[in-house]
Symmetry: C2
Subunit: 214 residues, 2 copies
């Protein structure tokens, strides 16, 4: 039975129910652990489900940061150091990844608290999640303040990209089903993915061709 | 075998391969058909995989629009009429949904061209995709010009929300596995999802509790 909510119905819901409903309605979400580091070399890692592709040339991604009315270690660290890492969450690290959403004090490292290993490369100051199947090192490029609700869209430029070359389609895309990367519904529900179909680049004169051999 | 690309390796890739790689690396993507209408009442529908949650109170979502250096019917219509619809893609409408990414002339309706049914409500001028399992009517709130690559982040406020009440978790989230909504990898790969685990709200003192009975 289809149910129709208008905005006044939505706003009348209890706060947690409204958050669950609205967080889930926009569709599937990416799940990434964002790694950062502060000036005392305390490593931070926190889960985000708003990382989006922004562009390929230059290679850019973005993510939404909640209002900075409470301390946001990730934001402070990124502005201090100028870089961050984006790490896919493997099915085997789900509990640890979700637990990074707890509000830990700035002086503790979530890596230690939840039991995730960290590692570094020469190019990026922020820590990577060692056991993540797809790791992206980004430099901070810009932030856009969303005045409608005081969130920020953070834009990062991809400086390096680390993944298993056996998890790549022939055309260059990373097969994140093979890498066992998870996605999310709403705030707290993690999903595995199964490839249904690939398609060729769509043109008006050629109707709905599926891509074979992938 | 883990492969490490730095930005110069990425930029040296052929354009299509680079687009495939960078579009896939940020993780799972949402897949939505955005419906809009022009002043001549020509209905437009186009697939987007960048819709993200922005906030619950007020209920806001956003999506990325490519540079308007070529005509963008969706953008023009939204600015003209002030609203748009966001419609989940059901597994059974994959071919039609992907085909909306072809560059049709502004005077043709993609609904007719690809074979998707449209319908209207009293509140929103733009057409919905009738057979979509989760439909969101939005008013245009704002746009943010991303100067790094001339994309725009479009912000919409959720005015109404239509879905099957049998596809809802007890806590209010829409179970988009049950609604058979698809997700995407990169530019052309559609995936189904399976719920792995739900978790309770994470707190530092309570470690990694799974949510039962969901």
């Amino acid at each position: 039975m289809m149910k129709q909510f208008d905005q006044s119905d939505i706003l009348a819901l209890p706060q947690r129910k409204r958050a669950q409903l609205i967080n889930s309605c926009s569709g599937l979400k990416s799940v990434n652990l964002i790694g950062s580091i502060d000036k005392h070399r305390i490593k931070n890692v926190a889960i985000f489900n708003s990382v989006v592709h922004v562009g390929s040339h230059p290679p850019l991604l973005g993510f939404m940061l909640r209002p900075t009315t409470v301390p946001r270690n990730t934001y402070d660290n990124i502005r201090e150091n100028g870089d961050f890492t984006v790490n896919h969450v493997h099915q085997n690290m789900l509990s640890q990844a979700h637990q990074t959403s707890a509000k830990y004090d700035p002086e503790v490292s979530e890596f230690d608290e939840v039991g995730l290993r960290s590692s570094f490369t020469d190019r990026i100051k922020s820590p990577y999640v060692t056991d993540s199947p797809v790791k992206i090192g980004c430099s901070f490029k810009n932030e856009y303040f969303i005045k409608e609700n005081a969130c920020r869209l953070i834009i990062g430029e991809i400086e390096e990209l680390i993944f298993d070359e056996n998890h790549q389609f022939d055309d260059g895309a990373i097969n994140i089903e093979k890498s066992d990367s998870v996605g999310a519904i709403g705030l707290d529900t993690y999903v595995s993915i199964s490839v249904l179909q690939r398609f060729v680049y769509a043109r008006p004169e050629e109707r709905m061709q599926k891509l074979n051999g992938s």
